[in-house]
């Protein structure tokens, strides 16, 4: 059995237990998804404190409403939807913040499920000297800044597509838009991002 399949089975088992009333099982589900939901909210709010607050709230809401989760979608999709609505309703993404710092330790590792690109980034980080790492740090800071400058709608689709790796159909269902709308929104968002990054002197453009 593949790792993904095993994880899916484990998640399904925990979900069944949680729905039967086991809080401990739900805690394990939270452990499985905490990084993902927190990461999503951090990108959307640009504030570690807000992201944690909203992530906690997201999981609490999910826990209390577990009976309404019918299993028609993946569990994390359901969590995403709650998280996105929380981020939107909190209005915390409208104000640009400078709270997100990129610790050097995490520059080396992108998402664990990212495949080759992640491995490449990691390899580069390992091989690079301090100057290269510092340069990369600066570039990452610029990308984050440019991302924070986007409107919430635009940032949402960019994060869901480029960071979370969801397809247009899926994104549309999460943000309540048609596939065409997502396509158009993403096109505009990337255009804005490119312009901003160029303005900031982003090296790769």
């Amino acid at each position: 059995m593949t790792a993904a399949g095993s994880r899916a089975q484990e998640e399904a088992r925990l979900l069944a237990l949680a729905r039967a009333g086991s809080g401990e099982a739900f805690d394990e589900l939270v452990a499985l998804h905490a990084d993902r939901i927190y990461g999503l909210l951090l990108r959307l709010t640009s504030s570690t404190q807000d992201a944690e607050d909203l992530a906690q709230e997201c999981f609490l809401r999910a826990y209390r409403s577990l009976s309404s989760f019918r299993g028609g979608s993946a569990f994390y999709t359901w969590l995403y939807r709650i998280a996105l609505n929380l981020a939107r309703s909190s209005g915390r993404s409208n104000k640009r913040r400078k709270e997100v710092e990129v610790p050097m330790a995490v520059v080396a590792g992108r998402r664990s499920e990212g495949g080759e690109a992640d491995a490449r980034v990691e390899a580069e980080a390992v091989c690079d000297g301090p100057e290269e790492v510092a340069h990369r740090q600066e570039m990452i800071g610029k990308v984050q800044e440019a991302l924070e400058d986007l409107s919430h709608d635009h940032r949402e689709v960019v994060v869901l597509r480029d960071i979370e790796g969801l397809d247009y159909e899926h994104i549309g269902q999460l943000v309540g838009a048609t596939r065409e709308a997502v396509k158009s929104r993403l096109h505009r968002a990337r255009g804005e991002l490119a312009a901003r990054l160029k303005g900031m002197g982003y090296a790769a453009l």
Partner: protein, 540 residues
């Protein structure tokens, strides 16, 4: 042959593999002949890759633990306790009166700028009718509480690394469930399911992360946790309320001398027409809470039968976290919205259980401390009350207007004792006041326990609202509460508290001037006097 304008809007979709094969082939053909479009595509790819390469983020340390604590303070999954819709008149009056009193006192006695701030808060509350009793606020457009909880249909997992190359739509892999299929619910072992059903809502038991043991895990900690056996304070004859208990039948607050009074703005406060709807949310119980297990709430499922052994009852308390946020200016708006029971906050209305006098007292103290206040020891409190009573004679007319809200002064006997003991207690550094046992006697009645809390004046309104929403329990009766004294300067309160570290407001409270020599401005405090009393069997 496609032209550049035809494809410029589709380059991103092409890059993401979101185009039909035929269309993608057309664009690929165009790209072969068009260096300009190739540059645009490269730029888009570069942007997407830059975002994708942002470092992974991990949830902060302790996130899961904090979540578990919050979860355990609430009801079981899918078992949200219905919101209490109505509140008895007594409480409505009490909350309105206490909040109004705090605001008015502060407005009268505080320095100008702070008083103005509080007045603004008061105006806002008046606009709502009854402070803390607003039933619903217009939600933001994004407040789609119900909608967000309904899952999107047909969503399948598709979280995979973006190809960033033209690819087929259907070629996306899913991390889980495998192959993009939706997860199949695997039935837990029968024993596990049985155990879970029998389990009490949640125990604070660490869960092993050992995945190898996971498939057979049955959470034995939960099974047959024997809640009844954990209760050490039996209260025979107390029938538990069903989980849907609406809170009706709340006993009126005894001894509260407040009458429905028009608010300063002229609008009637409280009364039968007031839509009193308390804000009650979970209160994460800190692990270091001093109360014994028997008094600790949160172990029983709502609706669980008492069987004559439990004293677990319902009480509604404010979320300490919300109050904490209320101290941070940038979050104050959101916290205030929560406090008023706005749309989002309604879902956080949860019941807590198992309140004894000691537990309620502990909660009140915790909330006060969260807001930068603290507690006065019984001896010091008596002294403070006497001082404040004397001071109130010289107070401005505004203070006299709220006279009826003040608690009755302590019985003369107690006052005399306090006057005698106070110098000795002060000499001993207030150590004697820290004995909880001493607090159990009040005015010669052993069953009552009086709690005198001091709050920074700018938090008084919040605390008054918290008080009004706090207690509704069949175990404990709040005999009376009110504010005493118009204002206690920081220096005065500092003399009265049990230990220097008790006065947190002096160090961290908003507007504090501690550590700023040369400035005469001091934090003003409001004293809250709360008397808790076990209900008698007849009352129960």
């Amino acid at each position: 042959m496609l032209r550049c304008n035809d494809i410029s809007g589709e380059l991103d979709a092409y890059l993401d593999g979101e185009l039909e094969e035929e269309r993608a082939a057309g664009i690929a053909s165009h790209l072969e002949d068009c260096p300009s479009c190739r540059r645009k595509l490269a730029e888009r790819r570069s942007v997407a890759l830059a975002v994708k390469r942002l470092p992974a983020v991990k949830a902060p340390d302790g996130f899961a633990t904090r979540f578990r604590t919050a979860r355990q303070a609430g009801p079981a999954a899918g078992n949200t306790v219905p919101v209490r819709r109505r509140r008895r008149l007594g409480w409505a009056i009490g909350s309105a009166a206490a909040a109004a009193a705090a605001v008015l006192m502060a407005a009268v006695f505080l320095p100008g700028d702070r008083a103005e701030n509080l007045s603004v808060a008061g105006d806002r509350n008046r606009a709502d009718g009854v402070p803390g009793a607003r039933s619903r606020l217009p939600g933001k457009s994004g407040d789609r509480t119900d909608e967000e909880l309904s899952e999107p249909q047909g969503c399948t997992s598709s979280k995979a690394a973006p190809s960033l190359h033209g690819g087929k739509k259907s070629g996306k892999a899913a991390p889980f469930p495998a192959g993009g299929k939706e997860p199949t619910l695997v039935s837990p072992p029968a024993a596990a399911e049985e155990n879970v059903k029998e389990a009490a809502s949640d125990r604070d038991t660490p869960v092993s992360r050992d995945s190898s043991a996971a498939p057979a895990k049955t959470y034995p900690e939960e099974a047959g946790s024997g809640l009844a056996s954990k209760a050490k304070t039996p209260a025979p004859g107390i029938a538990r309320k069903p989980s849907g208990y609406s809170g009706r039948g709340t006993r009126p607050v005894r001894g509260l001398t407040a009458k429905p009074r028009p608010a300063p703005g002229g609008r009637p406060v409280g009364g039968p027409g007031a839509r009193a709807r308390p804000r009650a949310v979970l209160e994460p119980r800190p692990p270091e809470a001093p109360e014994s297990k028997a008094e600790e709430p949160g172990d029983a499922k709502p609706g669980e039968q008492n069987e004559g052994k439990l004293t677990r009852q319902r009480a509604y308390v404010l979320d300490v976290e919300v109050l904490r946020k209320a101290r941070e200016p940038e979050k104050a708006g959101r916290a205030a919205k929560d406090l008023r029971g706005a749309k989002g906050g309604a879902r956080r209305r949860l019941a807590l259980r198992a309140e004894s006098v000691a537990a309620v007292e502990d909660r009140l103290l915790e909330i006060a401390r969260t807001l930068g206040g603290g507690r006065l020891g019984p001896e010091q409190a008596d002294t403070a009350l006497v001082k404040k009573k004397q001071r109130s004679k010289d107070a401005a007319a505004g203070a006299r207007n709220i006279k009826s809200l003040s608690v009755q002064p302590p019985a003369p006997k107690v006052v005399r004792r306090a006057e005698k003991v106070a110098p000795a207690a002060a000499a001993a550094g207030g150590a004697g006041a820290a004995e909880p046992a001493k607090a159990e006697t009040f005015a010669g009645k052993k069953s009552g326990r009086r709690l005198v809390l001091y709050l920074p004046a700018d938090q008084a309104e919040t605390f008054a609202r918290a008080l009004s929403l706090l207690i509704r329990t069949d175990v404990t009766e709040v005999k009376r509460f009110g504010t005493m004294g118009a204002r206690a300067r920081e220096a005065e309160v500092r003399k009265l508290v049990d230990g220097a570290d008790e006065l947190r407001a002096g160090a961290t409270g908003p507007g504090s001037t501690a550590g700023k020599p040369g400035r005469k401005k001091e934090t003003a405090h409001v004293l809250f006097v709360i008397e808790l009393k076990e209900r008698s069997e007849e009352q129960k």
